[in-house]
């Protein structure tokens, strides 16, 4: 039983890392909190669902469409965020809070509150050995998120663009003075974020039930992992994701599934209150 929990914890955690990746990059580069991040993931999931249900597209082909849709959306969002005044972090939280409400209700209108699921039988099959079960879906999650992290790491540390992004993350003003176009960096961050969201959404729709209010949980998870990992630390996202996934699996076994949502909330509050280095490190006043 514990092995299964371990496996599902890692698989779920990998998925969480994928969700967090987009958020972490956008926040790191632009310092804008996007509280509607989870809603965007759910939206991408709904897009995939709609393509699968209404147009008969198989799951694999929904990914590129979802990514494309999210790219368009995220470019618009970047413009919105760039209009915000100081204090940026607080204003972006409030504005994106409104955005989350807007998107939630939009999805409620378009898809109703019924739970939706993309049925992809291939994903539920898997390997069953000695009491350990590993579905192809879980395997795909782990592989996909590791690949995504790997690619992101490659981008950040072995390309010029990545260097510019990292510079912007570390010190916006300094980067601007060094000639980096910070606005373009913001666009890039939103773009890469859109890709991560566009990939996470259809996955979400096939392993989780889709419903309009699901976004908030996803956002909290993304924020928790981002704060845990610290700004600009990519590898921490995978570790954080796995730890969170394992913590949730443990909680489900020890306390029951209805306590699962509490795990990320408590961890997030703990991180915020006990102030790890990372996003927080700002001297007061």
């Amino acid at each position: 039983m514990w092995i299964t929990a371990l496996v599902s914890g890692i698989a779920l955690g990998s998925f969480y890392s994928l969700i967090a990746m987009g958020f972490a990059l956008i926040f790191g580069v632009t310092h804008a909190f996007n509280l509607a991040h989870g809603e965007l993931v759910v939206l991408a999931g709904y897009v995939a669902y709609w393509l699968w249900k209404g147009w008969g597209l198989s799951l694999i082909f929904t990914f590129p469409v979802a990514v494309a849709a999210l790219l368009c959306l995220c470019l618009i969002l970047q413009r919105l965020f760039s209009l915000l005044r100081e204090p940026l972090e607080l204003n972006s939280i409030v504005m994106s809070f409104g955005l989350a409400i807007l998107l939630q209700n939009g999805m409620l209108f378009a898809f109703s509150g019924d739970y939706r699921l993309i049925r992809a039988p291939a994903l539920t099959e898997g390997i069953y050995v000695n009491g350990l079960s590993l579905t192809y879906g879980q395997l795909a999650l782990v592989v996909l998120s590791l690949v995504a992290i790997g690619l992101l790491h490659l981008l950040m540390h072995h390309t010029y663009l990545g260097k510019a992004l990292r510079a912007t993350i570390q010190d916006r003003e300094g980067a601007a003075l060094a000639g980096i176009n910070v606005r373009i960096m913001g666009l890039v961050a939103f773009g890469i974020g859109a890709v991560c969201i566009g990939l996470a959404g259809p996955l979400y729709g096939s392993i989780h039930y889709l419903y309009p209010a699901a976004g908030l949980q996803a956002t909290l998870i993304a924020v928790t992992i981002t704060i845990f990992a610290g700004v600009g630390r990519i590898r921490g996202l995978i570790v954080g994701g796995w730890l969170l996934g394992l913590a949730e699996s443990a909680a489900v076994i020890l306390l029951g599934s209805s306590w699962r949502e509490l795990v990320s909330a408590v961890i997030l509050i703990g991180l915020l209150v006990f102030r790890p280095r990372g996003i927080l490190g700002r001297e007061e006043g």
Binding site: L84, N91, M95, G98, Q104, N105, M107, F109, E261, V273
Partner: protein, 326 residues
């Protein structure tokens, strides 16, 4: 004897007309809408939401944005509901007790989040709602879990000597009660902002370091404002639950009750006294009468849209902008 100068947050001078007219309309409503119970119901709810927005703004105007006020709302609702069922206490007693439970939760939140500011405080409050919600959902023995509380007593009759006023069974009496409560809240909030405590909270919002340097114990006053805000929110939650006479965790702890005070306070005007209430009394009925019939599902997207527009283009809110004329 001259009092301390009124703060920037003040009851309007030349534009006193609008709130007065509105008040007149609200008082006359039960007579005007005698035949239409739905209208009365909508405005009862709007008034309750107005109290939520006013209570939220006690924190908001002090510079702390809470995205999780539903926690206090729900705790107030459930504590009042449970106490009115089990020991069978009268709602007149359990409603303020609900407020006290809200205040108690606020002490926990406030002490825990003492060092948090701005966006991080907002995040913490957003996450914090989950704690009372999940606990309520799982503590079947006390709260009947996700089944919720049903058959709650309505607001009981008021007996004053020879007079007896039925409240719970009468739509207009319920309305008048909530209206009176809302007026009390407005009065309390106005009192706060005109007091020295209100001045301190505003100073702390403007420049925390300078406020400390002139002797303001910022942490303590903020905790105080949080407790007050939560007390009123919890009381409103308790009143709500005795109006609807049932509740489930997913209802009173929902994002709706966290979002609505934020939206009304920001759209109305974070730096005004009446702004939050005015926004509630305008936006909610518009939403219910105009948009709900058009879009039965998802009509609240309007709230989200308004919040985005206000943050981007009108940070002082509509009422704030109206009163900007010096």
């Amino acid at each position: 004897m001259e009092r301390a100068a009124p703060t920037k947050i003040a009851l309007p001078g030349p534009d006193r007309a609008i709130p007065v007219l509105l008040l007149l309309g609200l008082v006359l409503l039960p007579f005007l809408a005698r035949s239409n119970g739905y209208v009365l119901q909508v405005f009862t709810h709007a008034l309750l939401l107005a109290t939520l927005a006013l209570a939220w703004n006690i924190l908001g105007a002090g510079g702390l944005v809470s995205l999780g006020h539903a926690a206090f709302f729900g705790v107030g609702a459930y504590s009042s509901g449970i106490l009115s069922l089990r020991p069978g206490l009268s709602p007149w007693l359990t409603i303020p007790v609900g407020g006290l439970f809200g205040a108690g939760l606020a002490v926990m939140v406030g002490l825990l989040c003492r060092r948090l500011r701005g966006a991080y405080f907002a995040l913490a409050t957003l996450a914090f709602v989950e704690i009372p919600r999940v606990v309520t959902d799982n503590w079947d023995g006390l709260t009947r879990g996700s089944l919720g509380l049903v058959g709650l007593p309505g607001l009981p009759a008021l007996t004053l000597g020879p007079w007896r006023v039925e409240i719970g069974s009468s739509a207009s009496a319920s309305y008048n009660l909530v209206l009176s409560y809302a007026l009390v809240v407005v009065f309390l909030v106005a009192l706060l902002w005109r007091s020295n405590l209100g001045l301190a909270l505003q100073a702390a919002r403007e420049e925390e370091t300078a406020a400390k340097a002139v002797g303001i114990h910022v942490d303590r006053y903020r905790l105080l404002s949080l407790i007050l805000s939560a007390f009123l929110t919890g009381t409103s939650g308790a009143i709500y639950v005795h109006l609807t006479r049932y509740t489930v965790p997913g209802l009173v702890y929902s994002l709706h009750f966290s979002a609505v005070p934020v939206i009304f306070a920001m759209c109305g005007g974070r730096f005004t006294i009446l702004g939050p209430a005015l926004a509630a009394l305008v936006l909610y009925p518009v939403d219910q009468f105009l948009f709900h019939p058009l879009l039965p599902a998802g009509h609240e997207f309007l709230y989200g849209l308004f919040l985005i527009l206000v943050v981007l283009f009108m940070p002082g809110g509509f009422w704030g902008a109206l009163r900007r004329s010096p």
